[in-house]
C-alpha cells in the first residue's frame, strides 16, 4: 500500500492557514492565513527537502484574513483574496526581489472566499459570501476590467475553479450546488447546475483533461462528476446544446466529518481529500474499472491527525512531475506540511 510520508513542516504563520498554492514551475509554495499575510516558502537547498524557509512575506495590503491565494499560470503574479472584500494582485520587483501589491480589485460586498486564474492567465475569477462570482479580464498596465457579475447562486459561494484548458469556470456554494459558467457573445451564463450534494460544497477541482470534476462537501461525501457532450454515446440528454455533468461516483464513508478540500493531481490522477476529521486521504481510481461511467475509487493512503486535533483547510498537489508526488496541506494549527506519496 502506498504511504504518505512527511517531508517537511513549515511554521511561521501566526494564525490558521487557509490555502496553499504551488508555483507553476519553481519549487515555491505560497500560503495564506488569518494573520493577514501570505508567505512564500522554498527548500533551503535543492538536495535536502526536509528543511524549508520562508523566503518572503506579503503583508500590508489586506485588513482581514487572506482566505485564498493563487499563482498566475506564468508564475509572475500572485492573487490574494481577503475577507476585507478586496483581491490583491502582487508582482515581484526583480531589482530588489520585493513583492508589491500593484492592483486592488474592489466590488464584492463582503468576504471573498476564493480566487483563481484561468489557464492562460487572461481571466481571473473571485467569489464571495455575497453570493456572486465575478469574472475579471487582465489588461495591460495591471488594470483589471470587470467582465461579468454572476448572481445565480442562492447562497455564499465557497470556491471557484477554472477548466485546465478552456475558459469555462466552475463554482461551488453553500446552496449545495456546483455551477458551470461559459461565455456567450455578450455575457457569461450558467451552462449547468450540478445537484446531488445534500450540504455545502466546499471544494472542487478538475482532472488534467477537464472532462471530470471532483467535489468535496459538508455532507461528508466526495463526488466525481463526468462531462457529457451533446450527442454522447451514453444517451445523456443535453438540452440547450451544452455539455452536462453527471455524478459517476459517490464516495461516502471515506471521511467522518465535513470535507473542506479536494485536489486532483494533474500528474498521476490521484485525488487527495481532507477536512474536519483531521485525516488526509489519497484516492486512486480502480485500474480494473470496466465502465468509465461508473468508476470505483479507493483509498490508497491516509494520514491521521495530519495537523493534530486541528481541521485541515486545504490540500494541494505539486503541479508538475518535478515533484508530482508531493502534497501540501494547511490547517487550523497555523502549520503547513509537505507530504510525499510513496508507492510501494
Amino acid at each position: 500500500m502506498p504511504q504518505l510520508e512527511l517531508v517537511a513542516t513549515l511554521e511561521g504563520h501566526q494564525d490558521r492557514v487557509w490555502q496553499a498554492s504551488w508555483h507553476p514551475t519553481k519549487t515555491v509554495l505560497a500560503t495564506c492565513s488569518g494573520d493577514k499575510t501570505v508567505r512564500l516558502w522554498a527548500p533551503i537547498s535543492q538536495n535536502d527537502f526536509s528543511t524549508w524557509q520562508c523566503i518572503d512575506t506579503l503583508e500590508g495590503a489586506h485588513k482581514r484574513t487572506v482566505r485564498s491565494v493563487a499563482w498566475s499560470p506564468h508564475g509572475n503574479e500572485l492573487a490574494t483574496a481577503s475577507f476585507d472584500a478586496t483581491t490583491g494582485i502582487w508582482e515581484n520587483d526583480a531589482r530588489d526581489n520585493s513583492w508589491e501589491c500593484v492592483a486592488t480589485l474592489e466590488g464584492h460586498e463582503n468576504e471573498i472566499k476564493s480566487v483563481a486564474w484561468s489557464s492562460t492567465g487572461a481571466l481571473l475569477a473571485t467569489c464571495s459570501r455575497d453570493k456572486s462570482v465575478w469574472i475579471w479580464e487582465v489588461e495591460t498596465d495591471n488594470d483589471f476590467e470587470c467582465l461579468s457579475v454572476l448572481q445565480e447562486h442562492s447562497q455564499d459561494v465557497k470556491m471557484v475553479a477554472w477548466h485546465p484548458t478552456q475558459e469555462t469556470l466552475a463554482s461551488a456554494s453553500y446552496d449545495d450546488t456546483i455551477k458551470i459558467w461559459k461565455e456567450d457573445e455578450d455575457d457569461w451564463f450558467c451552462v449547468d447546475t450540478l445537484q446531488g450534494h445534500t450540504s455545502t460544497v466546499w471544494s472542487i477541482d478538475f482532472n488534467a483533461k477537464g472532462d471530470e470534476l471532483v467535489s468535496g462537501s459538508d455532507d461528508k461525501t466526495i463526488r466525481v462528476w463526468k462531462m457529457y457532450e451533446p450527442n454522447n454515446t451514453q444517451g445523456i440528454a443535453t438540452p440547450y446544446g451544452q455539455p452536462v455533468w453527471k455524478t459517476v461516483s459517490t464516495l461516502s464513508g471515506v471521511h467522518d466529518r465535513c470535507i473542506y478540500s479536494v485536489a486532483w493531481s494533474k500528474v498521476h490522477n490521484h485525488i487527495a481529500s481532507a477536512g474536519g476529521d483531521n485525516v488526509i486521504r489519497v484516492l486512486a481510481k480502480d485500474s480494473e474499472t470496466l465502465d468509465d461511467n461508473a468508476p470505483s475509487w479507493n483509498v490508497v493512503a491516509s494520514v491521521k491527525n495530519a495537523h493534530g486535533v486541528h481541521d485541515i483547510n486545504a490540500v494541494a498537489w505539486f503541479p508538475t512531475d518535478k515533484h508530482g508526488d508531493w502534497l501540501a496541506s494547511v490547517g487550523d494549527d497555523g502549520v503547513v506540511r509537505i507530504w510525499r506519496l510513496i508507492a510501494d
Binding site: E106, G107, E109, R129, E137, T140, D141, D143, E145, C146, L147, S148, V149, Q155, D156, Y174, D186, D187, D218, R257, C258, G276, N278, V309, H310, D311, D332
Partner: protein, 527 residues
C-alpha cells in the same frame, strides 16, 4: 456544522442576520428610570407596554421602517423590499380616488405623469403606436377613474436635458480653468500616439481627481438605482454625479410648484402619480430631498410601474384596445401634428430609451464649446465605438481636423458600472461625461416593464429580442430637441416670473448623501 475535536469556537456563522448590514441608525433613547430595569407587558392585541416602578403603563412605539428610510441596501429588517415598495402602489391611488368621490377627505387634484418608456412597453404588448397608448391612458385615467390631468414626462425631460447640458458646460469650463487644458493636451498626444500604433507605454500620469476638483467626468443622475448604489457603496464618486434633477422629479417640481402656484392650489392638495419603467423610481420619489416640509407633501406622491398600470386595467376590467382615442391635455405634453400625415403624434428625444442625456449634452457641448452646429455620425464628427459588451459604448466628438474634442461614454448594467467607478476612483477615467444606468439594455428593460409577450402569429417577437423591440417602438417618436420646444420655454419663463429666478434655479437641482456605516448601532453587534 459538526465541531471538530479541538472545539474551537470561531466564526462558524454563515447566517446573515438582517440587522447586521442595516445602515439606518437606531436611536437608543436613554431611559428616565435610574434603576435601569423595566418590565414589559404584552396585551392580547399584541401591543407592548412598559410598566414603570410606580405601576404606570406606557405604550411602547412600534418600530417601523418606511419607504423613506429605504435605500435598498438589502440589510433591512423588512428584508422583502417588495413589502416596502407596495406602500406606493395602485391601492394608494384607489384610496385617493375614493376619498375624492365620497368627500371623506379634502378634495385633491389628481395628476398622472407618464414616461415614454412605459408607453413603449404598453405599445409593444398591445401593438399600438406611442400616441395611441397615450390617448388610451388618458381615457383610462381621466374618464374611467376620475383623474384630473394626464401629463407626459417627455415634457419635463426637456427641462432636465437643458439643465443637464448647462451644468456640463459650466463644469467643463471650470475644469479647463483648473488645469484641464493641460490634461486635454496630454490626452490628445496620447491619442495620436495610439493612432500611429505606438505600443502603450507607462501608466497614464496624473490623477485627474486631484487636479480639477472633481468637475469631470460628469456622471448621469437620472437613474435612482445607480444613485442609491453610489450613495451606499461608493460615496467618493458622489461629487461627480450631475446635480440636475431627473425628468420624474422635474415633473414633480413643475406640478407641485409651478402648476400649484399658477392654479392657486396648495401642493398638498395635488396628488401626483408617475408611471415609470422601474421600482427604483419609487425610492427616488420618497427621498427626503424631494419632500416639501412646508406643505408636508412629496413632489411625486406615488410611482406606479408599467406592470402595475397594466394590472390596474385588469382590476378595472378595462379592455385597453377598446378605449377611444381621446384628446390629450393641453399642457405638459410633447405632442403635435405630424407635418406629413397631419395626424397627432408624440415627440421624443434623440438617444436611447434611457432618456437621451448623452446625445443632447454632446450636441450642446459641441455647439457651445466648439461652435460646431451640426454633429452626427453621418458627417463623421461623432464616432461611436462599442466596448467589450453591448451595454458599454464610447462616443467621440471629432474636430474637422481629426482631433478628439470630447470623450463621452454610456455604461449600462452592474459590471459596466463597476468598471466606470473603478476608473473614476483611481483617477483614470478619460471620459468627460458618462451616462450611467443600472439596467442592461437601458430603461426599456426596466424592472417594472411588461415582460416579453406572446403576440399574434403574424408579429411574433422572440423573447431575447423583446427589449430591442420595445426600444425600437420608443424611438418611433421622432426627436424634437428641447430648444425647439417652445412650450417648455414659455413655461419656464412664466415659472421664473411666478416665483423668482433663484427659486426656480434651486428647484432644478438636487444633492446626494453618502450612507455611512453607523458602527455604534447596537443591533449590529454580533454575539
Amino acid at each position: 456544522m459538526a465541531f471538530s475535536s479541538a472545539l474551537t469556537l470561531t466564526d462558524l456563522n454563515d447566517y446573515i442576520a438582517p440587522s447586521q448590514a442595516c445602515i439606518k441608525p437606531v436611536e437608543v433613547k436613554k431611559s428616565d428610570n435610574p434603576q435601569g430595569s423595566s418590565e414589559i407587558k404584552v396585551d392580547d392585541q399584541g401591543g407592548y407596554y412598559e410598566i414603570s416602578k410606580d405601576g404606570g403603563e406606557e405604550k411602547l412605539e412600534q418600530a417601523s421602517i418606511t419607504l423613506n428610510d429605504c435605500l435598498a441596501c438589502s440589510g433591512c429588517v423588512t428584508s422583502a423590499e417588495s413589502v416596502l415598495i407596495t406602500m406606493q402602489s395602485q391601492e394608494e391611488l384607489y384610496k385617493v380616488l375614493r376619498a375624492n368621490n365620497d368627500g371623506s377627505q379634502p378634495h385633491k387634484t389628481i395628476v398622472v405623469s407618464i414616461s415614454p418608456q412605459s408607453r413603449a412597453s404598453l405599445a409593444a404588448k398591445y401593438q399600438l403606436s406611442m400616441i395611441q397608448v397615450h390617448q388610451r391612458l388618458v381615457a383610462f385615467f381621466k374618464h374611467h377613474l376620475g383623474v384630473h390631468h394626464v401629463f407626459d414626462i417627455a415634457f419635463a425631460r426637456d427641462l432636465s436635458l437643458v439643465e443637464g447640458a448647462r451644468e456640463f458646460i459650466e463644469r467643463y469650463q471650470a475644469y479647463l480653468e483648473q488645469g484641464g487644458d493641460a490634461l486635454e493636451k496630454q490626452w490628445q498626444e496620447q491619442q495620436q500616439q495610439q493612432d500611429t500604433s505606438a505600443p502603450r507605454s507607462h501608466r497614464r500620469q496624473g490623477g485627474r481627481a486631484q487636479q480639477q476638483q472633481q468637475q469631470l467626468p460628469m456622471l448621469a443622475s437620472s437613474c435612482p438605482g445607480w444613485v442609491c448604489y453610489a450613495e451606499k457603496t461608493h460615496g467618493e464618486v458622489l461629487p461627480f454625479i450631475s446635480t440636475t434633477k431627473s425628468p420624474q422629479q422635474m415633473m414633480g417640481s413643475l406640478v407641485k410648484d409651478y402648476l400649484a402656484t399658477k392654479t392657486n392650489t396648495r401642493p398638498d392638495q395635488i396628488y401626483h402619480v408617475a408611471v415609470m419603467p422601474c421600482y427604483d423610481k419609487k425610492l427616488e420619489a420618497s427621498r427626503p430631498d424631494f419632500f416639501q416640509e412646508e406643505f408636508n407633501t412629496r413632489d411625486v406622491d406615488c410611482v406606479l410601474s408599467t406592470g402595475e398600470v397594466d394590472k390596474m386595467l385588469t382590476e378595472q376590467s378595462v379592455d385597453f384596445l377598446q378605449l377611444p382615442d381621446v384628446p390629450v391635455d393641453d399642457i405638459f405634453n410633447k405632442v403635435g401634428l405630424d407635418p406629413v400625415t397631419q395626424a397627432l403624434t408624440a415627440y421624443g428625444t434623440e438617444g436611447s430609451s434611457s432618456g437621451g442625456a448623452l446625445e443632447y449634452i454632446l450636441a450642446c457641448a459641441a455647439k457651445q464649446l466648439f461652435h460646431m452646429d451640426s454633429v452626427s455620425t453621418a458627417n463623421g464628427r461623432i464616432v461611436i465605438k462599442t466596448g467589450k459588451n453591448a451595454d458599454f459604448k464610447e462616443y467621440f466628438l471629432h474636430a474637422d481636423d481629426g482631433r478628439v474634442l470630447l470623450r463621452f461614454a454610456s455604461a449600462y448594467g452592474f459590471r459596466n458600472i463597476q468598471n466606470i467607478v473603478r476608473k473614476v476612483k483611481s483617477g483614470k477615467c478619460s471620459y468627460h461625461f458618462v451616462e450611467v444606468m443600472a439596467c442592461p439594455g437601458g430603461c426599456a428593460n426596466g424592472g417594472g416593464q411588461l415582460p416579453p409577450q406572446q403576440l399574434d402569429q403574424v408579429t411574433s417577437v422572440a423573447v431575447k429580442d423583446w427589449v430591442q423591440h420595445v426600444e425600437a417602438i420608443y424611438r418611433t417618436c421622432s426627436g424634437v430637441p428641447p430648444d425647439a420646444n417652445d412650450a417648455i420655454q414659455a413655461v419656464y419663463n412664466e415659472w421664473m416670473q411666478l416665483r423668482s429666478p433663484d427659486h426656480v434655479a434651486k428647484l432644478l437641482r438636487t444633492q446626494y448623501h453618502a450612507v455611512t456605516q453607523n458602527l455604534g448601532n447596537p443591533l449590529a453587534t454580533k454575539w
